[in-house]
């Protein structure tokens, strides 16, 4: 025979006021789910910025004048772009004081479901000797690459080890970068020597010939010497080299996400504010419920319930409502985040590296506990008043 437990009584109390219970559960679900999802999106963007800037390696990027929008698109979201620096810029940058490393990159072309290979990615040529993005990866993995080895970003759908003809020249996918949330994730890096080979043979091997001069580059990635401010070097560049402009790389990435980050943080603040508003809303609702049920409470006392039991029942009922709301909201949020992390990240159009699944679950478990605590705290005062009330007065007031 099924035992009667305090839980049975609580659930039966909730069933007695289905509409109110459902409304409260949905309210709490919306607030907790909103706070949970927005928090993780903001954290994901924060991680994206941190990882992207850390992996990016360069302190500043020298680009042709007017190329800012194009390169921001390339750096932040991996949008294809083709820009060309005037000849001699690389050598001129290297001569400037405060420049520790200056490494050229050539933005070859973006490929979109090309005949050679599926998916969309952006081909960039790099200088293995000086590069700031790929070289640290090679050193970290104790690897050396040949001229026809390619290193791909995390979201590039080409298989590791595959040999693929870019513009007719075969390259091997020799490594994969960790996710960064920025444009690096959709980039295929190939050495400059490989690019030259590819350009040289493209007229006879590829459907479309590449027209890139041997000394042509798109950007110069610069790392400044220790103790030198990137802004000082940036001023040197613009003062001494014509027709170029400088992007302060990490700041650019951060600036690009700032707007969205502010919006998301604002939304999160609103959600957190609504969560705070839950206290009075729930407190008033639970006070009303307790008041309506004074006769029940008086009757429970007459049946032998102590004031402590009455208090615990009232608090537990509130905690149950907010707990159910939290489960619904956070569960839905978690499902959305786990199933649609990729599309969400792309839809944001900003660096986004989601937290690991276990971290999300842990965070949501914490929020669920907070939801339960919110209900319990909101009901604290009404529950105390109910517990302290004279049982006979409760019985008589309930008759009124």
């Amino acid at each position: 025979m099924r035992p009667l437990t305090p839980g049975s009584l609580l659930l039966s109390n909730l069933r007695r006021r289905r509409f109110r219970t459902a409304a409260l559960v949905l309210l709490v679900a919306a607030v907790t789910g909103g706070v949970g999802v927005l928090s993780l999106l903001v954290r994901g963007i924060g991680r994206g910025v941190a990882l992207g800037t850390a992996r990016f390696g360069a302190d500043l990027v020298v680009i042709p004048r007017g190329g800012r929008a194009a390169i921001e698109g390339a750096l932040i979201v991996g949008q294809p772009t083709q820009i060309t620096l005037p000849g001699g810029v690389l050598a001129a940058v290297r001569k400037l004081p405060g420049v520790q490393i200056a490494s050229p990159q050539i933005f070859v072309q973006s490929l979109h479901d090309a005949s050679c290979c599926p998916g969309e990615f952006f081909l960039i040529g790099y200088d293995p000797a000086t590069d700031l993005t790929v070289k640290p990866w090679l050193e970290e993995h104790h690897r050396t690459f040949g001229d026809h080895d390619a290193l791909v970003g995390d979201r590039v759908s080409l298989k590791d080890g595959a040999q693929l003809p870019f513009f007719g020249t075969p390259f091997t996918i020799a490594g994969r970068l960790a996710p960064t949330g920025v444009g690096l994730d959709t980039t295929v890096f190939i050495p400059l020597a490989g690019v030259r080979d590819m350009v040289l043979h493209s007229p006879e091997r590829a459907e479309q010939a590449l027209h890139i001069k041997p000394d042509e580059i798109s950007a110069v990635m610069v790392r400044v010497a220790p103790g030198t401010a990137p802004t000082t070097v940036a001023e040197e560049v613009t003062a001494n080299i014509d027709n170029v402009e400088v992007l302060l790389a990490p700041q650019e990435i951060a600036a690009a996400v700032r707007e969205l980050g502010v919006t998301l943080k604002l939304l999160m603040a609103v959600a957190a504010g609504v969560w705070l508003l839950l206290f009075p809303v729930l407190g008033i609702t639970f006070a009303m419920t307790t008041s309506e049920r004074r006769r029940d409470l008086g009757l429970h006392r007459a049946l032998g319930a102590t004031s402590k039991v009455i208090f615990r029942l009232a608090v537990a009922e509130a905690g149950l409502i907010t707990g159910l709301g939290g489960l619904l909201g956070l569960g839905s949020g978690l499902v959305v985040l786990l199933l649609f992390n990729g599309p969400l990240g792309r839809a944001l159009q900003r660096p986004y590296v989601p937290a690991e699944a276990w971290s999300m679950v842990g965070f949501f478990v914490g929020l669920e506990l907070a939801a339960v605590a919110t209900g319990a705290l909101a009901a604290w005062l009404p529950a105390r008043a109910a517990a302290a009330a004279d049982p006979y007065v409760c019985l008589r007031q309930g008759e009124a």
Binding site: M1, P3, L4, T5, P6, S8, L9, S12, N13, R15, R16, R295, D296, G298, L299, H300, R301, A302, L303, G304, A305, T306, S307, K308, V309, D390, P391, Y392, V393, L395, R396, G398, E399
Partner: protein, 228 residues
Amino acid sequence: MPEPLAELSEVEKVWSGGAGRVAAVAGVSLEVLRGDFGVITGRSGSGKSTLLALLGGLTRPSAGTVTLFGHDLGGLSDDGRAALRATRLGFVFQFAGLVPTLTAFDNVRLRTLFGVPPGRDTDLAARDLLRRVGLGHRLDAYADELSGGEQRRVAIARALLGGPDLLLADEPTGDLDTATEAEIMTLLAELHRDGLTILMVTHNLELRQFANRSFEMRDGRLQELQPA
């Protein structure tokens, strides 16, 4: 001489409110002995329900002492008074006070949440009590599916779970039709014959016929009526 189960000694209860201070119970002394079936009659507002509440420890007296099963309620903690109500006292009110979303059986077992030990024996006792009040066929009916009389009988079964020594009944037949009232009173009389001590308040003077002791409450004062 039967053992006294409950005793009021010069008890007063004053309510303070919008109408000022009202003495609902004014200097009442009463001894309820084991085996009594006492009926207290009186007009509405005469203080009879308050008297019952004082006896059951549901409210504290403004003056005087209340002794229940040998314990001075004024010296007991909230937990102590609750323990007495849970294990030795049964209450029935004019309203049945059932939880509508629980079955009749679970409504009787509700006391297991508040002090009556749960378990198989208690479950069997709950079934037996529902049979005893004529609701053996309605165990699984939800409270809101029961008629007013059936609900009142479930409330009586609930009050009897755990084998209380004293049943305090506050207008247990109020707002019931005559036939149902007769059913309930017959049931209470049977329970009394089986050894249960009952103290009941009612405005219906005819119900004195079931009592072996009758009282009248008027303006907060209690007077025992001599048998006719």
